[in-house]
Amino acid sequence: MNNCFKIGSPDVVFEEFGGEMVVLNLASGQYFGLNPAGAACWHAIVSGASIADVGDRPDIRTTLSVFAQRLQELGLVVPADGETPTGQPTTVLDFQGTPSVEVFNDLADLIVADPIHDVDVGAGWPVKPAA
C-alpha cells in the first residue's frame, strides 16, 4: 500500500459486529459485508496507515494494498495523500485468511432518499424529471 487512504465520503458509515463488519454507503444504497480479515484491513486502511505502518511481512503488505484498491473501486475509500491520518495508525497488522468484501444492493431503495437524485438532469433542482 503505497498511499494512505481515508473514508470516501460522509455517506460511508461502518459498524463492527463480532469481528465482521457492515459498511453502508448511504449515497448509493449499497451495503458491504467484510469478513474478519477484511475488517482488520479496513481498520488499518481508514486509520491512514501507510505501508510502513503495518509491519514487515510482504504478504500482508501486498494483501492490504490489493484490498485497499478494491475498496477504492467500490467508492468506500479515497487516497489521502498529504493528509494527516485522523485515526490511530496500525503498527503491526496480522489476520487469518483472505480479506473479502461482499456487495449487496437489496436495500438500495430503502437507504437512498435524497431529492438530488430526483431532479431533471438538464434543468436541475427543483425540476423533477419527466415521468
Binding site: 451495503y31 430503502l110 437507504i111 432518499a113 433542482w125
Partner: protein, 351 residues
C-alpha cells in the same frame, strides 16, 4: 449579512451556512414570544414545549404526541411558523441545489442541524446548544403527507440525540418485565404484531418511531400513533372500533392512537431485552429463530437513516450499539393474532 431587514427575507445557502443559521435563530425568541398557542409534550424522559400560531398544526400534534405532565422540567423549545408571517423571516434557499447529505456533513461539527423539503418549502432547523427547534412552512398546510403520523420528527430526534438518545424505526411491546423491539420494513408484520399485543393488554412505548437510549438499553414513547391498512384492521378484529375513522392517510392506512385501543398500556419506558424481526409466513404457528446482529442491523438501521435526515450516523450508531448488547431473533409469524401474542408472551417469559 444575508438578512434583508426591510423585506425580512433570509437566504440560506451552502456558503456560510452556519452563520446564516445563526442569523435565523436571532429571530427565534421574538417569534416564540409572539406565538399565541402552546403545548407541552413528552419526549422520552424529558419534555418539549411547542409554540405556534397554527391551530391546525397543534391539533395534529395533539393526536400524535404525548402530553407532558412534567412541569418545571427544562426541555426543548420547538416553534412552528409560516415563512414570512409574524416575526418569522421569509426563508429562501439560494444555492442551486439543497444537497441533503452535503448539508448534513457541513453541519456535523456545528451547533446546528437543518432539513429542507424543497417541494413543499418545509424547513426544520435545530440549535443544539439552546435546544431550540424551528419548523417553518410555506403555509399552514405545507407539511409532508407523512408528517401527521410523527410531527416534528427530525426536531425530536435531534433533541433526543443531545442526551445520548435517538429516534429509531421500530415497534415495541412489554411483557413479564421484558421489552422487545420489532424492526423491519413495511409489510413485515411489525405494526400488526404491536397492535395485536396492545389489544391483549401488553404495554408499549409506541410503534413506528420510538426513542431509545442505547447506553441504558431503554426505549421511550415519543409518538402515540398507530397505523394499519384495511386488511390488517380486519385481521385484528378492529372493524367498527371507534378508533377506526373514515379517513385514511397518505399510505391508505387508518391512523389512530395507542390510547384509543388500549387504556393505560402506554408505558413511561421499557427495557430493551431483545430485537425481533417479524416475517409473515402463512404458517399456523409462530416460531422464533436466532439471527445475527448484522442481519438485525440491516433490518433496523437503513429505514431509520433514510427517514430521519440530518443525523444519520447517530442513528446507525445507536442501532449498532443496541444490537451488540441484546439478542436478535427472526419472528416467523403465525396467522392468528391471538396465537402470535401467546407465543410472544411465552418467548419473553423464557428469555
Amino acid at each position: 449579512m444575508p438578512v434583508d431587514s426591510s423585506a425580512r427575507v433570509l437566504a440560506l445557502a451552502e456558503d456560510r451556512l452556519e452563520e446564516r443559521l445563526a442569523a435565523l435563530f436571532r429571530h427565534f425568541d421574538a417569534t416564540w414570544g409572539a406565538a399565541p398557542l402552546q403545548r407541552s409534550c413528552r419526549l422520552a424522559d424529558s419534555r418539549v414545549e411547542i409554540r405556534s400560531g397554527l391551530q391546525n398544526y397543534l391539533d395534529l400534534c395533539d393526536l400524535a404526541l404525548l402530553s407532558a405532565d412534567l412541569p418545571g422540567a427544562e426541555g426543548g423549545r420547538f416553534l412552528v411558523s409560516c415563512s414570512g408571517s409574524d416575526a418569522c423571516p421569509e426563508l429562501r434557499w439560494s444555492s442551486p441545489f439543497f444537497r441533503e447529505r452535503e448539508i448534513e456533513s457541513a453541519l456535523r461539527d456545528t451547533r446546528y442541524r437543518l432539513h429542507f423539503h424543497a417541494d413543499l418549502g418545509f424547513w426544520q432547523a435545530y440549535d443544539r446548544e439552546s435546544g431550540r427547534g424551528w419548523q417553518i412552512m410555506r403555509d399552514k398546510s405545507g407539511f409532508p403527507a407523512w408528517d401527521p403520523g410523527s410531527p416534528l420528527r427530525n426536531l425530536m430526534h435531534w433533541h433526543l440525540s443531545e442526551t445520548g438518545g435517538s429516534l429509531i424505526h421500530a415497534g415495541t411491546l412489554l411483557h413479564a418485565g421484558r421489552g422487545a423491539l420489532f424492526a423491519g420494513g413495511g409489510g413485515a408484520g411489525k405494526s400488526g404484531t404491536v397492535i395485536a399485543g396492545i389489544l391483549q393488554g401488553l404495554r408499549t412505548v409506541g410503534d413506528d418511531y420510538v426513542g431509545v437510549k442505547p447506553a441504558s438499553l431503554r426505549a421511550y414513547p415519543v409518538f402515540k400513533t398507530l397505523k394499519q391498512d384495511e386488511q390488517g384492521v380486519a385481521r385484528l378484529g378492529l372493524q367498527g372500533h371507534r378508533a377506526i375513522g373514515a379517513e385514511r392517510n397518505w399510505q391508505n392506512k387508518y391512523q389512530f392512537s395507542v390510547d384509543q385501543i388500549g387504556h393505560g398500556v402506554l408505558a413511561d419506558s421499557i427495557p430493551i431485552d431483545v430485537v425481533l424481526l417479524p416475517r409473515v409466513t402463512g404458517h399456523a404457528s409462530t416460531r422464533f429463530e436466532p439471527v445475527s446482529a448484522i442481519e438485525a442491523f440491516l433490518a433496523l438501521a437503513p429505514s431509520g437513516v433514510s427517514q430521519i435526515p440530518g443525523d444519520r450516523t447517530v442513528q446507525a450508531r445507536a442501532a449498532a450499539t443496541l444490537l451488540r448488547q441484546v439478542p436478535s431473533y427472526c419472528l416467523w409469524l403465525g396467522t392468528k393474532p391471538s396465537e402470535i401474542v401467546a407465543a410472544l408472551c411465552e418467548f419473553l417469559e423464557n428469555l
